[in-house]
Amino acid sequence: MNITKVAKAGTLESNDILIMVMPNDSGDVELELESIVMKQFGEVIRNVILNKVQEMGIEGITIKAQDKGALDYTIGARVETAIKRAI
């Protein structure tokens, strides 16, 4: 499934993550991630985001994520919200 518009979810407050999603024409899943804990958890955060996108069956999506120390459950919830808003 593809998304049709740009959408955001989350905030830049601590323990949260701001996710912005937009459609792209490549058909791929592209992710730009910034995090205050990039060195320690960058890879984990990346996997949580990509797993959620895959679980929801979304292709052709560009994701910009600004993480402020969110736990996995928050990351998953914000990605899901952003995608649902963009469909």
Binding site: E13, A70, L71, Y73, T74, A77, R78, T81
Partner: protein, 290 residues
């Protein structure tokens, strides 16, 4: 799970940090709020975040209550449908009336069947905060076997009544009596409205003591700093516990002698006094005081 409901702490449903901390703040129950604490544009986001929080975070030491949006808004039914599927302990239904409680009960019956949950396992607490709801509180509790308590919402109620809300709370005297009596009659918990000045601990103590003296069994909190004061008011004092235990000991002696009514320190002790003593000792035991 701790079944006491001395304190019920409201936590905003769209704040990840607060949802993470909610379990360890010492409240008996936490109310994850999807209604007033969440702006209209973030209802979808908070609903998903609260669902994920309940699935992920260990809330085993507290009762997890979710305040959904009113059923007559576009958000209420989706809230119930999504949240009930991760099995919170209780749903708090705002602006409760009989019809609304029956509707939620019906939705929960269907969801529990679909998800394979035990029938009746998700409980309901009614938030009574309208004049019509207050006058109907007995029937609201009777509307579903799931109803485990009533939370009195003083702010919305006084707004509905068109009267001023004060710190002294005389304007909700009738409402507190009415809720406490109906809840006692139907053996469910009655939770008092929160005290909104979070810096006034003496005021909070007086307000909680007033609620307790009218028969309410717990109090809502809007800040974790309020929990200790609320618990200290609802805990029986050492003197109350001692006296209650003396009454029960004297009762056993009287039973041996075949007496229904007896006297202790020159005062008559009969069934109501004994029942009160049993309640006090029971609470003391649950709190680990004896």
């Amino acid at each position: 799970m701790n079944k006491l409901r001395r304190s019920m702490l409201f936590m905003p449903g769209n704040n990840p940090g607060m949802l993470q901390d909610a379990a360890i703040l010492g409240a008996d129950s936490i109310i994850l709020d999807l209604e007033d604490a969440v702006s209209l544009t973030e209802k979808d986001s908070a609903r998903i975040l609260v669902r994920e929080a309940i699935k992920t975070i260990d809330y085993s030491q507290v009762e997890v209550v979710v305040r959904v949006n009113p059923l007559d808004t576009e958000f209420g039914a989706p809230d119930v449908d999504m949240i009930a599927r991760v099995k919170p302990d209780t749903l708090l239904i705002p602006k409760a009336d009989e019809e609304e409680i029956k509707l939620v009960d019906k939705m929960l019956n269907a969801i529990e069947k679909e998800e394979g949950f035990e029938a009746g396992s998700v409980k309901i607490m009614a938030l009574v905060e309208t004049a019509i709801g207050l006058e109907n509180v007995y029937n609201i509790i009777k509307a579903s076997k799931r109803v485990v308590g009533v939370l009195l919402g003083g702010e919305d109620l006084t707004s509905d009544l068109g009267i001023k809300r004060t710190k002294e709370g005389e304007e909700i005297f009738y409402a507190r009596n009415k809720v406490a009596t109906a809840c006692r009659a139907l053996k469910v918990d009655s939770i008092d409205t929160p005290f909104t000045d979070t810096n006034d601990y003496e005021g909070l103590e007086r307000d909680t003591a007033k609620a307790k003296s009218l028969g309410l069994t717990g109090k809502a909190a809007i800040n974790p700093r309020q929990i200790d004061v609320i618990h200290s008011v609802f805990a029986p004092t050492e003197a109350e516990l001692k006296q209650a235990m003396r009454i029960l000991a004297a009762m056993k002696e009287a039973e041996k002698e075949g007496k229904g009514v007896f006297s202790l320190d020159g005062k008559m002790v009969d069934a109501p006094v004994i029942n009160r003593a049993k309640t006090t000792v029971g609470l003391g035991q649950r709190l680990g005081l004896i």
